[in-house]
């Protein structure tokens, strides 16, 4: 096997792993978590009906039941709708959500049988910018869906999501400039590697950036408390009112995968990526006897740690989603422009000052 085929095979395996993890594990699991966590938080039982021969597996089968039901539903396109755009919109929503994962490192670099394995699909120098570029494309899904549905509520939802994208896109970029200054790189792979030392985890110096970034990211993902484009009490279901069957499930999948992407980004930038605190991957390799076996075990531990941290942040996001009520539309805009934007500019200034005075040594 020559090296190019090896590289190609490695990339295909990594892409298959990431897509499998997102579509096969996280998307259906989040459907379950959304119901079950809300039930626990509101002292209800939650989903518990779907089962096989009386075994309900604490409601886990509901995701499968939903998927089967929605696949066999009629694919409805309303009269007067733009058929092509109506079909294209869910695709525009779901593809960027998956593509953003291409630059997120999920395990570190290892040497395996003389072959250097870097557990990220694309090691880009501009990783963070790539994620933001892709995220801005994803908003088109909502806007096009709202426009193409030939429904006033959908249209209002689409316009709201466009306005929300304008307000939070730039701000989200500004919130992490301080972090980029601290790590001196836009590459997520480099940022992840620099967090080997626990005291260099982003959250320690850059915790204000974490709060600002998470707020902007939830707003960009249009989830409660920022779900005014959807706002079921005002706009029926907002931009996806007129969607059914598989297209409906694609919008939900896109939203859930974006939750995962936000968690993965936060983990990579603020919570030490795939590293255990105080134990570096090299130490793990030597603990498990070095060589290929040690590398494989360390790799699996890295991936496991990364996924576990993502799950913890998903829990946090779900807790926020079921705790806060929806903001009014003007409140969403005011928060973005009048609070988060100036706050992130102040944080950039403070970070610069601290780096200049040597209070925050860059890594």
């Amino acid at each position: 096997m020559n090296s190019m085929t090896g590289d190609l095979l490695e990339t295909v395996v990594k892409i298959a792993f990431v897509i499998g993890l997102n579509l096969g594990f996280f998307a259906p699991m989040l459907g379950w978590v959304e119901r079950k966590q809300s039930a626990v938080m509101q002292d209800r039982i939650g989903a518990n009906r779907a089962g096989v021969f009386g075994f309900t597996f604490i409601g886990l089968l509901h995701s499968a039941a939903d998927a089967i039901k929605l696949i066999f539903k009629e694919d409805f396109i309303p009269r007067g709708a733009d058929r092509m755009m109506h079909t294209l919109a869910p695709v525009i929503a779901v593809v960027p959500a998956l593509a953003a994962f291409a630059v997120i490192p999920f395990g570190g670099k290892f040497e395996l049988a003389g072959h250097n394995v870097n557990l990220v699909i694309a090691d880009l120098d501009v990783g963070l910018l790539f994620v933001f570029a892709i995220a801005s494309i994803a908003t088109y899904g909502a806007v096009i869906a709202g426009w193409a549905s030939n429904n006033n509520w959908s249209m209002l939802g689409g316009l709201r999501s466009a306005a929300q994208m304008f307000s939070y896109e730039v701000t989200m970029g500004l919130t992490i400039i301080g972090l980029v200054m601290y790590y001196q790189s836009l590459s997520l792979v480099v940022i992840a590697e620099k967090q080997v030392d626990f005291w260099h985890w982003g959250i320690i110096y850059q915790w204000p950036a974490f709060i600002l970034f998470l707020t902007c990211a939830i707003a960009e993902n249009k989830r409660i408390p920022f779900d005014v484009p959807e706002a079921e009490s005002e706009l029926v279901a907002g931009y996806f009112t007129e969607y059914s069957g598989m297209k409906f499930i694609m919008f939900w999948t896109a939203e859930f995968i974006e939750v995962v992407t936000i968690s993965a980004l936060c983990v990579t930038m603020f919570f030490g990526a795939y590293h255990l605190p105080f134990i570096s991957p090299d130490m793990l390799v030597s603990i498990f006897g070095g060589g290929d076996f040690g590398a494989i075990v360390a790799m699996l531990i890295g991936i496991g740690v990364f996924v576990a941290k993502i799950c913890a942040l998903i829990f946090l996001q779900m807790a926020i989603r079921w705790t806060l009520p929806r903001f009014r539309y003007d409140q969403v805009m005011a928060l973005g422009w009048k609070i988060i934007l100036p706050a992130s500019l102040i944080w950039i200034f403070l970070t610069g000052l601290a780096i200049l005075l040597g209070l925050m040594p860059t890594v």
């Binding site: 733009d82 092509m84 755009m85 294209l88 880009l124 120098d125 501009v126 910018l129 790539f130 933001f132 570029a133 892709i134 801005s136 494309i137 908003t139 088109y140 806007v143 096009i144 426009w147 193409a148 249209m155 316009l159 466009a162 994208m165 304008f166 896109e169 836009l186």
Partner: protein, 170 residues
């Protein structure tokens, strides 16, 4: 492999551009324009200019969204679908080709020739954030600052225009 990728992106960008000019619905044109920008970003990425590629998508995605909003809010929504027919598309495409044909020698002779930027860049840092940033803040500092002042003027102009309107109404 890279030649194949190039042809896919090139054909994609040209066909999206044609779709943009020819489609009757303005929103379809805007979406096709997004497609053009994505294909161009892919072409930039193939030249190792990853920063330009990312910025291309980031900046134009927002800009085209404004176009979509203009279309939705200002233009008549009861348009017919489909592509333009008759003589008009040929005139449009012909005009674009002619304009580009006229501009190409001008650009290549007077704009591209004097810059020696390619020779100045180090191939190791070419197209990276560091490389582009260093160039912007040393070699091209003056144009960079002038561009930022221009943008600031546009920003202030927009604020002044909308403010005046509000005052006269109230």
């Amino acid at each position: 492999m890279s030649a194949l990728l190039f042809y896919i992106l090139a054909i994609g960008s040209v066909s999206c551009a044609l779709l943009m000019i020819l489609s009757k619905k303005a929103v379809n044109s805007a979406v096709a324009l997004v497609g053009v920008m994505l294909c161009l970003a892919g072409l930039f990425a193939m030249q190792n200019a990853h920063l330009i590629a990312a910025l291309q998508v980031l900046v134009y995605a927002g800009a085209i969204m404004v176009l979509v909003l203009f279309v939705i809010m200002l233009l008549n929504l009861r348009e017919k679908g489909g592509l333009l027919t008759g003589r008009q598309p040929f005139i449009q495409v012909g005009a674009v080709v002619l304009l580009n044909g006229l501009l190409a020698p001008l650009v290549s002779d007077y704009v591209m020739a004097p810059t020696t930027g390619i020779a100045l860049t180090d191939p190791a840092t070419f197209g990276t954030v560091k490389g582009v940033g260093t160039m912007l803040f040393t070699e091209y500092l003056l144009p960079f600052e002038i561009a930022s002042i221009l943008l600031l003027a546009a920003l202030v102009g927009a604020v002044v225009l909308t403010k005046n309107k509000k005052n006269s109404e109230g």
